[in-house]
Symmetry: C2
Subunit: 659 residues, 2 copies
């Protein structure tokens, strides 16, 4: 894959205007030491190299074939006959080209498996191994001279973005090891490549440029392997907005998945996520060799100590850090930042950086350098270079255009940032970075007796599912014609019991606060159509409402969510999502992130709600993920009423996969 | 100011290690054609120029003095005696240095006015007039060789940031005309400088780097003048987060003002605001020569047409645009973007750009260029250069490192962006940009009879203020001991009437839903301490609650706000703020931006509320800004109950300035 002793270029061309001429040129330009076999039936020589009519004719073993012809099927057959273990396919017209292309791709992969050939692509721009000198790619970025080599590797959905990141990194002295364009991921996917890079001795940190995640389990495994090897994995993923999500879907032909679900997924498997593209390029040295930060069991606000030669320059980063809830700290505790503007800097900049790296009151150090970075690196940049290496992350932001200083810092393995926003984004990504999570052990919940695991569930059945999982639910009874008898004490609520109606109150199917048998009977006459049974529930009151839910995301799998109840969750997107199942402690952390629960935390003298009980209900709901065969597509209780003591689910909805 | 025929450098030094040696060196380096007079009592010559003991001794008229000595007072006296009309003060120790410094600054300004000397600074790094060849500054960025000249001018609070913007702009070929570091703004402020630049024939667009706004009226006047002259004004302001706000305050010694209030202010006076620092540098050509966009009276979502040579590269910008609510559009209406990836590009890129600029279905065009931008500008960059100039904005994003292509586009006056995020931020800033607003005419509201305009106001008096302004308020009566008689029909609400208690319900001072005289009397016994009068109100119900408020911001002046009622405004920051007064139409636009009012717009089949009546109440409240002498510091009604027909304010609070 990464270090072939010989490569074959299937469909090579000698015409420099054609993309198919590039791999040969780039391999030679970037110092490939192995053998290159161009394959083209109509040529006997291409740019000085012997050309073969067919892969089979190559007189030596080939480790990696690069396929650029329309007849991919034939080329793969040849790889099989020749015993080529890996083929990268540049050609498109597969999963990127509708249903027919998708079927074609499946056929090629099936055949390649039979032949024992692993595939990268189709629709891949290839692979660049800079530290090994193998530029096996059509990416025009390889026209550049000698990009710096380093310990960062990249796996990119988009071949173009591979060029973006390589060229931009090179311009500021950031070196790379391996860069892979995965294309359609028909066989070798992002997850397996991360596993390979986790085991690669030249790779220190792994960057991912993603449009979606195709094999969440494999990538999670790769991320865990990388974590175990002490290599951070950082992702930039498109699809933050609905528009971007739609575009990613149309562009990749894959399910995009919901961005918030992918956020939960990245967090779960220990992948740091950045928001800005430049952060992905620049963050490597900030995380390399480090573990996710430990901010205590109930995460406190992270603290950054700041030293600067320009007040305004530091403020631009600090302002941004503030929007992420990150705080500043300094040893003397008074000023938020240490400002060594003009005159004071030659004396103490390096000493201050060292002092802050040793200062136990901060979790990271930010060093900001003003105009001296451009023409007088001796003032502040060189003292930073001499700073004693520390387990504490050090981020440098330089306010002017200062390519040389950026390169000096990059060579020293110190994280340096071109923009205040990328600098703040990187520190935020670092502080949000978690070790891969071990899901809690423990048994699966019961499936409620008498409830089928296919078909549509009524509210009564959905409540039974929550109750069986261990969530306290309202006392309910199904009242039936002709008398609609029940044994609940008044006041009660009355609801229609039609599994086809998801929002009963919108169709007038709910009556609340029924105070007496007499009123009950009147309501029954209004609601019960043709003697249909009705659901009677005890009226419950409390301090506030929550939504607690479970669902299976098509990309990342089972999720649990908790949010402010009623319509707040939807209007303000005030929900927190995690991969299911979660422990009670993890659920409590989720509950702590819901803004609307401020009213349950003593806001304006209001009484406090039982958030621990709510967390127990969330953890219980999350264990629906452990049901054998995972029969549920989704289950949601809205509202769960939160009281001073305890919680109670008063409404539920559950949808089976087989409905 | 900008084009002195002779300058004096007060406190000049020949020691290159000293900042005070820089202006002379930089003036010469950057081709100053006028006379330079170094002033230093202990030298007769500095680096080849005749040095004078005192400003008075200079044998020719001096147009601009640059003061770098501790004895600023003496230097200003000398300017007066010598008849120097403008002095820039680099020295610090004034408003930047606490109370005593502030007093010192006031004295210097008073004296300078007497002498007829205008001051830039103190604590200013000076002024650079690139198109006029006057580099009168200590900013080390002037070590650079021949920065490009252009039509963009900058006014910066921070001298360092002046260097940041100049150096970063220069690196991508963006040229500047004037750059001014305003320092403490003791005399010449940002507003007056914007006025000067509005009248400057070499300036086409004006950038502001701000930490706060010191003279909102003057800056508004400057922005209006610039608008009238067809010159866009764009601001980047620190203080988005509380942390940044605090830092800006400590750094400038000025009131920072609330960021949301400044947002409203910028919008009001036609200043576009950018979020990212690089956007400020790059946005000039996007707005230069253009007017704010017209998206119709009820602003629809802006539409951008996108052409690209890389799907993934375009997606990074489009994803970001989506988060701002911006949509994509294309002539054939099917694909969201026009993707001319590999192979198709040479044929049609330029033609597509031209077609999109002519396409009436879009408001702006985004052209994305992939790796060809770095080594093959003929593929896509050159066709863009040849695009016919259009009134429609054209933004170019290049995915690789492509300095030369950036410079080519900059020279052609075409907006080009280094990062997808700055590109999207710039388009968002363009679409949010408004023409300066003319506040509505119309008379001031009445001040309610019998209410004093000083002291503390009770809730009854506050309601009277709203009623007099034209807001419908709940029927109320003040009930007094011994009988607490009133003529309202039941049910009623009862409240304590103590101006000192802002949150009555938190102290148990409110009883709601009192159904009868009997219950009323029982509640009076609970609430009325020592026979204090109580406020009786008719109980009102409706569909939802709103908050409507007025307040005077110390920086930008009177503001009106509307938001979701109860605690939502605070928990979710779901409020919209504008400079007061506003028209009913403007108020309706504000109401349309409050997320929580979804429940009044037909959300999930809920009945619709009278948002027009709410807008009338907001407009009426905003006219409190027209009260003679503006006696109110703030006035807020929370909740205003919104019904199917009409609204009613049921609670009010008003605070006078003189309380």
């Amino acid at each position: 894959m990464f270090a072939p002793r010989a490569v074959a270029l299937v469909g090579a061309s000698g015409d420099e205007a054609k993309n198919t001429s590039r791999p040969q040129r780039y391999l030679l330009k970037h110092g490939y030491a192995g053998s290159i076999a161009p394959i083209n039936p109509s040529r006997s020589e291409i740019s000085g190299l012997a050309c073969y009519k067919n892969l089979i004719d190559v007189p030596y073993p080939v480790d990696h074939a690069f396929i650029m012809v329309g007849d991919v099927e034939g080329a793969v057959e040849d790889c099989g006959r020749k015993g080529v273990p890996v083929a990268s396919i540049f050609s498109d017209g597969f999963a990127d080209a509708g249903e027919a292309g998708m079927a074609r791709q499946r056929r090629v992969v099936t055949r390649a498996r039979e032949l024992g050939v692993r595939l990268l692509g189709p629709n891949s721009m290839g692979m660049i191994n800079l530290t090994g000198g193998v530029a096996l790619s059509v990416n025009a970025i390889l026209e550049m001279d000698g990009p710096p080599r380093g310990g960062t590797s990249l796996v990119s959905k988009s071949g173009t973005r591979l060029g973006t990141i390589l060229s931009r990194g090179a311009a500021r002295g950031l070196g790379f090891s391996k860069l892979v364009s995965v294309g359609n991921e028909s066989d070798l996917g992002v997850g397996e490549l991360v596993e390979l890079l986790a085991a690669d001795s030249e790779t220190r940190s792994i960057l991912l440029f993603l449009e979606t995640v195709r094999d969440a389990e494999r990538l999670a495994a790769g991320a865990r392997a990388a974590h175990a090897a002490g290599k951070p994995v950082v992702a930039y993923k498109l699809g933050r907005s609905k528009l971007g999500e739609r575009l990613a879907r149309s562009h990749t032909g894959a399910l995009a998945g919901e961005d918030a679900a992918l956020d939960a997924y990245f967090r779960d498997c220990g992948i740091a996520r950045v928001d800005l593209l430049e952060t992905l390029i620049e963050i490597g040295p900030l995380l390399a060799g480090r573990k996710p930060p430990d901010l205590g069991p109930v995460a406190r606000a992270p603290r950054v100590a700041v030293v600067t030669t320009t007040g305004g320059g530091a403020a631009a980063v600090v302002d941004r850090l503030g929007t992420f809830g990150i705080e500043t700290a300094s040893p003397d505790g008074s000023a938020p930042i240490i400002d060594l503007t003009m005159g004071k800097r030659a004396a103490g900049y390096g000493a201050v950086v060292g002092e802050l790296l040793d200062f136990p009151g901060c979790d990271a150090v930010l060093a900001v350098v003003g105009s001296s970075a451009q023409f007088h690196p001796q003032h502040a940049v060189e003292p930073i270079l001499r700073a004693k290496p520390s387990a504490k992350p050090l981020a440098v932001f330089m306010t002017p255009q200062a390519d040389q200083s950026l390169a000096l810092l990059a060579q020293a393995g110190i994280a340096a940032f071109r923009t205040p926003e990328a600098c703040a984004d990187a520190l935020h990504a670092y502080f949000s970075w978690k070790s891969p999570r071990t899901p809690p052990a423990g048994g699966a919940p019961e499936w409620p007796e008498g409830v089928a695991s296919e078909g549509r569930l009524t509210e009564a059945q959905a409540l039974a599912v929550f109750a069986a999982a261990g969530v306290p639910v309202v006392a309910s009874a199904v009242a039936k014609a002709p008398h609609y008898a029940h044994e609940l004490s008044y006041p009660v609520a009355l609801k229609i019991l039609d599994a086809a109606v998801a929002h009963k109150s919108e169709v007038g199917g709910v009556a609340l606060g029924i105070a007496s048998r007499q009123e009950f009977e009147a309501r029954v006459r209004q609601l019960a159509k043709d003697g249909a049974p009705l659901l009677v529930q005890r009226m419950e009151t409390g301090l506030a409402e929550a939504i607690v839910g479970y669902r299976e995301d098509p990309v990342v799998g089972p999720l649990v969510l908790v949010g402010a109840g009623g319509i707040l969750a939807e209007l303000y997107n005030d929900v927190v999502l995690r991969l299911a199942p979660v422990t009670e402690a993890e659920a409590l952390e989720m509950v702590g992130r819901v803004k609307g629960f401020a009213v349950l935390r003593g806001y304006r003298g209001l009484p406090r709600g039982d958030l621990q009980a709510l967390a127990r209900a969330v953890a219980a709901t999350s264990r629906l993920a452990l049901l054998a065969g995972r029969p549920l597509r989704e289950a949601e209780s809205n509202p769960v009423i939160v009281r001073r003591q305890g919680v109670v689910a008063v409404d539920a909805l559950a949808v089976l996969k087989e409905e």
